[in-house]
C-alpha cells in the first residue's frame, strides 16, 4: 500500500548531520504548536511542543524555534539517525477554536548512511 508522505517534500540528510525541518503556519493568533513524527503504518507521535510566549524550546536532540513575526516554525534534529527517517508534521492550535489542531503539509525526512 501507499506509504505516508509519498507526495510530500523530502529532505535528505546524511547520518550524523543536523536536520532542519521548516513549517509555515497560517494563523497569527495560534497559541500552541506541536511537532509530530509519523512512521509508515503508525499514527503521529508527539516530539516537542512550544507555546506562543516562547521562541525556543529544547528537548532531547530536538529544538523547536518559533518566529511569530513571519509565522514560521522549525524543528532541528541534532546528529540525525536512521531511526529519524519519517514524515514530520507541524500543527498549530488557534485560540477560540475548541482546542483543535490544524496540520501543516508535512516533510519527509530521509536519512542516508
Amino acid at each position: 500500500g501507499e506509504s505516508v508522505g509519498l507526495h510530500l517534500p523530502t529532505l535528505s540528510v546524511q547520518e550524523g548531520d543536523n536536520s532542519i525541518i521548516n513549517c509555515a503556519y497560517s494563523n497569527s493568533a495560534s497559541d500552541y504548536f506541536i511537532w509530530y513524527k509519523q512512521e509508515s503504518g503508525k499514527g503521529p507521535q508527539f516530539i516537542i511542543d512550544i507555546r506562543s510566549n516562547m521562541d525556543k524550546r529544547q528537548g532531547q536532540r530536538v529544538t523547536v524555534l518559533l518566529n511569530k513575526t513571519v509565522k514560521h516554525l522549525s524543528l532541528q534534529i541534532a546528529a540525525t539517525q536512521p531511526g529519524d527517517s519519517a514524515v514530520y508534521f507541524c500543527a498549530e492550535r488557534g485560540p477560540g477554536t475548541a482546542s483543535k489542531l490544524t496540520f501543516g503539509t508535512g516533510t519527509r525526512l530521509q536519512v542516508t548512511l
Binding site: G1, E2, S3, V4, G5, L6, H7, L8, I34, Y36, G41, K42, G43, P44, Q45, F46, D49, F89, A91, A98, S99, K100, L101, T102, F103, G104, T105, G106
Partner: protein
C-alpha cells in the same frame, strides 16, 4: 500521556457499505478528534466529538457521511458511510489529555474496492 486503542487497524470494504472505527482511551477526556489522512497527504480534521452533545463537523464533512458517537468520556466511534473508492484513507482519532501534546491512535487504513 493518554493511551488510545484504535480498531480496526485496517480493513478492505466494498463500495456502498459502511465501516465503523472505534477509539478507546485509557483516561477520561473531554474532547476527541477524528482526522482523515488521504494517501501521501497531511491530516485533515473531520470533526470534534464531545461527550453528551453532537459532534462539531468541519467544512466539507457532514454527519450523514461521517456519523460519530461519543457515549462516554473514554470512547468514541466514527462511521464512514456509503463507501466509495475516494474514501480510501487513513482515519485517526486524537485526544487532548490536557497535559500538553495531543495523542493519536495508531490509525485505521481503509481501502474501498
Amino acid at each position: 500521556s493518554a493511551v488510545i486503542s484504535q480498531k480496526p487497524s485496517r480493513d478492505i470494504c466494498q463500495r456502498g457499505t459502511s465501516l465503523t472505527i472505534q477509539c478507546q482511551v485509557d483516561s477520561q477526556v473531554t474532547m476527541m478528534f477524528w482526522y482523515r489522512q488521504q494517501p501521501g497527504q497531511s491530516l485533515t480534521l473531520i470533526a470534534t466529538a464531545n461527550q453528551g452533545s453532537e459532534a462539531t463537523y468541519e467544512s466539507g464533512f457532514v454527519i450523514d457521511k461521517f456519523p460519530i458517537s461519543r457515549p462516554n468520556l473514554t470512547f468514541s466511534t466514527l462511521t464512514v458511510s456509503n463507501l466509495s473508492p475516494e474514501d480510501s484513507s487513513i482515519y485517526l482519532c486524537s485526544v487532548d489529555p490536557g497535559t500538553g501534546g495531543y495523542t493519536f491512535g495508531s490509525g485505521t487504513r481503509l481501502t474501498v474496492v
